[in-house]
Amino acid sequence: MYVQLVVTGLALGSMYGLVALGYHITWATSRTMNFSQGHAVMAGAVVAYTVFVALGWPFPLALVITLAALACYGTFVERIAVRPFFLRASPAWLLATIAVGIIAENVAQLTFGKDARAFPSPLMHKPIIVGSAGFYPQELLVPVIGLTLMGLVQLFYHRTSYGKQLKAVAWNPEAAGLMGINIPRAVMTSYALSAILAGVAGVLLAPLLNVAPQMGTIIGLKAFAVAIIGGLTSAPGIVIAGLGYGLVEAFTAGYISTRAREIVGFALVILVLVVRPWGLLGEKPSRRV
């Protein structure tokens, strides 16, 4: 039994990790994030469904359109829900991004409909069964792409000059501004990147979760828990925490009960917040004097 639970846990965990990277990208730049990252994932799946399934356009084109649309969505979220508050150092972006997410869900209900729809994928036709455990090839794709994106995000922030500039904004906005970094644009870029990542997650998860306006809510919430556990400032921490969280969920559901799953999962979040508030691999904030 545990072999299947490991497989299930890793598959779930890589979904959480992938979505949670979206929180990291904006946090690394602006110490803010789109609390409705799950809704951005949903938006990605809905746009991809519309272009690829409803309109029947070729998949590569649908992917490009989806990612472009999501970049616009991210920019929009930053412009109306984050920037007005970020500049005033007010934490109201928290509520504002939740509001945008709720609006997005309702717009999707009105335009797309509330019914869950199937997103066809050749990787969902037949599960691969090895011994006593099985999985769909699509589930294998999630960690592969998740790890690749994590690597890219790491490279971007640590190896490229623009990435370093974005990080500088988070450390000291005033100094970064004085050094000639365009802060509003830096924040906007991070939001666009984060939304593009959500778009990738949406396309990747659509065949597994089906496309529906409410598909992102739970996964967004759990991804947030994962981001907290792993450390908002650390991409590898988030990916590791994602896998761990997925395993904890699968084993709790498998050996204790499905009802205990959320209790154990979110209790872990509280534990981490108490013991290690910066997360497993996050940067411990230096004390300001």
Partner: protein, 392 residues
């Protein structure tokens, strides 16, 4: 001045005199209300009920209406599956629209919230979908709530009987959604399996939008379940089938009718093969006279080509029969007065040849469900089509 008074008198004459004969002919219509979700995720159910009601109304109007020439008229309201909205709509339909009776939709929560309103305003209610046991068994006397649909308690008896007598299985694993609906079916299934000396080897639950059901299925499998009884709606039902395929577990699956709303076939593809579930009526297979008529109307009015195109068929079938029973009660009561119609529904005289069955005193003071497990049918997905199952 004179021309003004001429015009005025002409207007007066037209207004008072002219409509005389027309007004005498058109008697006040009898209004029937519908409170159902006609938008959102369950929109298909509301639309299906509306179709059933409209077909029956047109049929009755074509032969002269009720009470010596009064036409039936439908007033539809969207409750969006929201209990608060349902209560507001219930009052509005009775107080403003002056409806003689109201039909209800898919949501048990809405139906339960509306019960006190029907009791207070003395208006008969006819459930056409929601299966919650205590909607009709609500402890009220006189009870204004009736139903031509499934009742969870009978459904659970039906499903357990199917498992034991037809499948010859004795180790049920229950897989239920983590909601009051799932809870009420756990109670019913435990009770009816228990009557036959059988205890479920496992009871597992899942939440809405859960992505993976393999842990729950694994637990049932390891507990030795030889069949699964599923209480789920289409999206979660689809995830269950996917996870089941992943485990390579080929075990019989019998389901409440929740999976038949939504787009189960689209979501599951080949995986739906062999899944059995319950319906109150199926338009597949041989049809009685009424069935042929309703199919013909669905074709002519709604462009339905074959039974497979009928969305949410149980809604249409239940509503069609329910409306005929209400019209019959109005006719026999000789009035649209709520108290009288309610009383007459409980003592309907004669036989009514309906779509689902022939009704012979369908309601009594103790029994407000016109259909019981004797009337349900079992169907199975076969090659993307729904086929009736022989219960013998």
């Amino acid at each position: 001045m004179r021309s003004v008074s001429v015009i005025f008198s002409i207007v007066l004459a037209v207004a008072l005199g002219a409509p005389g004969p027309a007004r005498a002919q058109s008697k006040e219509p009898v209004k029937i209300g519908l409170s159902a979700a006609v938008s959102g995720g369950s929109a298909a159910s509301g639309e299906a009920i509306k179709r059933g009601l409209q077909i029956a109304i047109d049929e009755i109007n074509a032969r002269g209406g009720v009470l010596g020439g009064r036409r039936l008229e439908l007033a539809v309201r969207d409750d969006e599956g929201n209990p608060q909205k349902g209560v507001t709509i219930a009052r509005e339909l009775v107080e403003r629209e002056k409806v003689a009776a109201v039909f209800g939709g898919l949501h048990t929560t809405v139906a339960l919230a509306q019960v006190p309103v029907w009791q207070e305003l003395k208006t008969p209610y006819m459930g056409a979908w929601a299966a919650g046991t205590n909607i009709t068994r609500n402890g009220q006397t006189p009870n204004y709530v009736f139903r031509v649909s499934a009742n969870d308690d009978y459904v659970d008896r039906f499903l357990s009987r199917y498992a034991i007598e037809v499948l010859k299985k004795g180790k049920p694993g229950l897989l239920l959604e983590n909601t009051p609906w799932g809870q009420s079916n756990e109670t019913g299934l435990t009770k009816w399996f228990g009557e036959r000396g059988i205890k479920a080897v496992g009871v597992e639950r899942f939440n809405w939008n859960d992505p993976d059901m393999s842990p729950q299925l694994l637990r049932l499998k390891n507990a030795g379940a030889d069949h699964i009884v599923l209480v789920a709606n289409a999206p979660e039902g689809a995830q269950v089938l996917r996870s089941k395929a992943k485990l390579g577990w080929n075990t019989a699956m019998i389901s409440h009718w929740g999976i038949s709303g939504g787009r189960f076939a689209e979501l599951t593809g080949d995986l739906s093969e062999g899944v059995t579930f319950l319906q109150t009526y199926t338009f597949f297979g041989r049809q009685n006279e009424r069935g042929q008529y309703v199919l013909k109307m669905l074709r002519e009015k709604y462009g339905v080509k074959e039974p497979g195109d009928i969305i949410a068929p149980v809604g249409t079938a239940n509503a069609y029969d329910g409306l005929h029973l209400v019209a019959l009660a109005i006719e026999q009561a000789g009035s649209t007065d709520g108290t009288k119609v309610r009383g007459t529904l409980e003592t309907l005289k004669g036989e009514h040849k309906g779509l689902i069955k022939t009704y012979k005193r369908p309601f009594t003071p103790e029994q407000h469900d016109a259909l019981t497990d004797e009337d349900y049918v079992m169907v199975v997905w076969k090659g993307g089509k729904i086929v009736p199952v022989n219960m013998k």
